[in-house]
Symmetry: C2
Subunit: 437 residues, 2 copies
C-alpha cells in the first residue's frame, strides 16, 4: 500500500504545546506500549506499519517540519517537501509526482491520501488499505472514505452517497452545514468527509498536467511557488463524475482542540503534576521540570510548556485562537533534525539556551555577525570545529566563539551543552552557513 500523509501547518489551537513552529502532530502526549509518550504522527505511522509492514509512507509537508519528522520517525521515511504552502491540490500533485518520478512507482498503482492527525484505531488503516484496493479496481477514478457520523456536526463537510451500501457512488458533496441542516443530512444518510481518498497515480498526474502543466517532479517543484492555491476537493473531487465512497464506522476523532485532545488521552496527567480528590474531569499536560498542582477544579485543562501556561475550561478552549494570536512570545523550544534546543534565559543583551544533539548528528557549520557565543559541554562527547580547527570535547569543556568565527559540534554520543549568546542584536536570522572542510 502507498500512503501520502498530509502533515498540515502550524496551529495555535493547542497552545502552548503547538505554536508557529511546532505543529500539534508532533506533541508527545499518547502513552505507548513501552510506557513512553508518542506524538500523533508517531502513533499514525506505527499503526500503518502494524496493519501493513510493507506500506510505502510518504509525508507531504513544508520545509519547517522536515526536522521534526526525521527526529520522530527516523531518516527512512519518505518526505515530499513543499517549497511553500499552496493548499491541498498542489501538495497532493507534488507528492504524487514525487512517488512516480522520484520513487519510480508505476502510474497504475494506487495511493491513499490521508491527514496525519486523526485519532483512530487500527481498523481505520485496514479500511484505508481496502480503499487503495478499490482504486486499483478502477470502478471509479477516486474513492473516498465516508465516516459514519455520530452526531450532527457543524465542523465537517458531508458526502451524500447514492445508496446505503458499503461502497456506493457519490451523489453530491456538502459544505460544513449549520446544526439544522446537519440533522437533515444525517436523515439523508450523509457521511462525514474526513479528507481521505485513493486514486491511481496516473489519474492525479493527468489532472495536474491539465491544470498546471509540468514535465516531471523537478519541474513541478521548481515552479511550485507560482501555483495558485486551490484545494483538492474543489479542483478535483467535486468535479469528478466517476467517484465512489466507502463507509467507515470505527473510531475516528479529530484532535483539533484541547477539549477533543484530552478526550483521547489515556491518562489525566502527562508530566509532573498532582490533583486533589475534588478535581473532576481535569487533564494536565506539563512539559516543564517543575510540578503542577490542581485543586478543586472541574472540566479544566491545564497545559504548561516552555512557551507558556494555559488554564481553560474545556469547552471554552475551542475559542483559544484569537487570544493566542495576541501573545508575542519568542520561540522557547524547537526540535531540529540534529536534536533540539530550549531557551533557558532571556536578557537584553544575552540569551542562554540548552542544546541537545542526537548521537552522530551535528548542527550546520555556521557563524554569526553580531554575537559572541560560549559553549559549556554538560554531558556526552564529540568534536567541535572552530574556524576549521577540530577538538575533542566532553563534560566541562568550554569553547569561546567570537562573532564571525565559524563553528559546529559533531556529537559522538548524545551531547548536551549550554550556549550563552552575547550581543546587542541577537536574532535567529543572524546565521551564515559555511562549508565544513
Amino acid at each position: 500500500m502507498n500512503i501520502i500523509l498530509l502533515s498540515g501547518g502550524s496551529g495555535k489551537r493547542l497552545w502552548p504545546l503547538s505554536n508557529d513552529i511546532r505543529s500539534k502532530q508532533f506533541i508527545k502526549i499518547f502513552k505507548t506500549e513501552d510506557g513512553s509518550y508518542g506524538s500523533m504522527v508517531q502513533r499514525v505511522y506505527h499503526q500503518i506499519r502494524k496493519v501493513d509492514p510493507g506500506a510505502d509512507v510518504t509525508i507531504a509537508t513544508s520545509k519547517a517540519q522536515v526536522s521534526s519528522i526525521h527526529n520522530q520517525l527516523g531518516e527512512q521515511v519518505g518526505i515530499s517537501v513543499e517549497p511553500c504552502r499552496r493548499d491541498t491540490f498542489p501538495a497532493i500533485a507534488l507528492a504524487t509526482a514525487y512517488l512516480h518520478y522520484v520513487r519510480g512507482i508505476s502510474a497504475d498503482e494506487a495511493v491513499v491520501v490521508c491527514p496525519v492527525d486523526p485519532y483512530v484505531d487500527d481498523s481505520y488503516f485496514a479500511a484505508i488499505k481496502k480503499l487503495g484496493q478499490l482504486a486499483e479496481e478502477e470502478q471509479a477514478n477516486l474513492v473516498l472514505m465516508g465516516i459514519e457520523p455520530t452526531y450532527p456536526s457543524e465542523k465537517y463537510g458531508y458526502i451524500i452517497p447514492e445508496s446505503q451500501s458499503q461502497v456506493s457512488f457519490v451523489s453530491t458533496f456538502k459544505e460544513k452545514p449549520d446544526l439544522e441542516t446537519a440533522k437533515i443530512y444525517l436523515r439523508q444518510g450523509a457521511l462525514w468527509n474526513g479528507g481521505v481518498f485513493a486514486y491511481k497515480l496516473g489519474y492525479v498526474l493527468d489532472k495536474a498536467r491539465a491544470l498546471i502543466g509540468f514535465t516531471d517532479y523537478q519541474d513541478l517543484f521548481t515552479r511550485y511557488d507560482t501555483l495558485t492555491k486551490i484545494s483538492f476537493d474543489y479542483a478535483v473531487a467535486e468535479k469528478e463524475p466517476r467517484i465512489q465512497v466507502m463507509r467507515y464506522k470505527g473510531q475516528w476523532k479529530d484532535l483539533g482542540t484541547w477539549n477533543t485532545l484530552t478526550e483521547a488521552m489515556g491518562e489525566s496527567i502527562v508530566g509532573e503534576a498532582m490533583m486533589d480528590d475534588s478535581c473532576k474531569n481535569v487533564h494536565i499536560v506539563n512539559e516543564l521540570g517543575v510540578p503542577v498542582l490542581a485543586m478543586g477544579l472541574t472540566d479544566v485543562v491545564i497545559s504548561a510548556s516552555p512557551e507558556g501556561i494555559l488554564v481553560s475550561d474545556k469547552e471554552q478552549s475551542s475559542y483559544i485562537k484569537p487570544l493566542v494570536d495576541q501573545i508575542d512570545q519568542q520561540i522557547m523550544f524547537a526540535e531540529k533534525s540534529w536534536g533540539s534546543f530550549r531557551v533557558l534565559d532571556v536578557e537584553a543583551e544575552s540569551l542562554t539556551i540548552k542544546v541537545t544533539l542526537n548521537k552522530g548528528h551535528s548542527m550546520n557549520y555556521h557563524s554569526h555577525r553580531c554575537r559572541d557565543e560560549v559553549w559549556t559541554v554538560i554531558s556526552g562527547h564529540g568534536q567541535t570545529v572552530v574556524d576549521d580547527v577540530r577538538q575533542e570535547v566532553g563534560p566541562g569543556d568550554v569553547i569561546v566563539m567570537k562573532a564571525g568565527c565559524r563553528h559546529t559540534v559533531i556529537a559522538g554520543t548524545e551531547l548536551k551543552l549550554i550556549e550563552v549568546q552575547l550581543g546587542r542584536e541577537i536574532s535567529v536570522h543572524d546565521k551564515q552557513k559555511s562549508e565544513l572542510l
Copy 2:
C-alpha cells in the same frame, strides 16, 4: 515608637510563591505608588515609617530570613536573629534584650510587638503607636490590641474584655473556638487576638530573667538553643493580672491563604498573563517569563513561580498544605543578601543557574570539593577572585573553576552571570568558605 516585628517561619500555604526558604512575607504582590510591586514586609515597613518616620523597627527572625530582609528593606533595619526557632516567648525575650543591651534603649521605654504580615491600613499603625503610649502610662504591664470581629471566626483566639470601653482590662483569654462558641463570644463582646501587644522593656526582661535566667543579650543568644519552646501568650499574657486591651476596628486581614491573599490584591493579574471575558473572580500571579492564559474559569487562583504551578479553586486552596508537603522539589529560586539565583536547568551531572549580584556586593569566597564550575558573565562589570588572583570581568568573560579552587565575584555594577556546575554529586552542602586576602 519602638516596634518588634515578628517575622514568622517558612510556610507552604502560599506555594509555589512560598516554600521552605521563601516566606510569604517576602512575596512581591502588592502594587506600590510607583507602579512596582512590594512584599508584605515592605508594605508594613513603609506604613510604619509613614505613620512615624522616627520609629525604631527591629525584625525578630531566623538566620534564613536575614538575606531577604536586607535585600528588601536595606541594610539599616534592625534585626534580632534567632539562632534557632524556639516559639514566641524566647523570640520576644531575645529581641527585647537586643533592644536594651545592644541598642541601648532604656528599660523604661515601651515596645510594641506585632506580626510582620497583617494586611492593614495606616490607622492600624496609629493604633499601635497609641498602644505603646498606653504601655508607658503603666496602668497595666501589658496592653493588647483587640480586633473588632467581623464574623464568628474559628481561626483566631479571643480576648474577653471587662467592659466595652475603648481601653479595658482583660477578663479572660479564649482559645480558637468552634463556630457556635465563636457566636457566643461575639455576643459577649469578645475581640480577636491578633498577636499585637505593648510593654515596657523592663517588664519582659524581668519575666525572661525569672523564667530563663541570663545576664545579657549575648548570654541569652549563646544559650538560645537550650531554651524550651513556649509561646508568649502561655508564658506571660495569660498569667498577667494587670493586662489591658485596646479596641481596633480598622481594616485587618490575615493573608494566610491564597483565598485571603487574592482578596487583598489590587489587581487580578500580577506578571505576564491574559484572561478571557468569561473568567470571573480569577487571580493570576505569574513570576515566570512566559505568559499564562486563563479561559472560562470562575473563582480560581493561578500562581506560577520557578518552583511550580498552582491552579486552585479559591476556597479549596486553604487545604493546600498536605499536598505541597508531598512535593519534593529542589529550590529553584532564592534571594540572598548579595542578590539572587535561579536554577535554569537540572541534569544528572550538571546544574545551570543564573546568578544576579547587586551592585557593590559579592558572594562568600568559597570552594567546592566535588564540582567544577564555569561562569559566563552576561551583564555588568566587576572583579573575580580565583585562588587569590584578581581579574576585572565584563560581559562575555568566561571563568573556569576546577573543584577545590577558591572563588568569588565582586560586583562593581549589578552583575549577572550564568554558572554551569559540573560533577556527579552536586549539592548545596558542598561549600567550603575561605578568607579573602
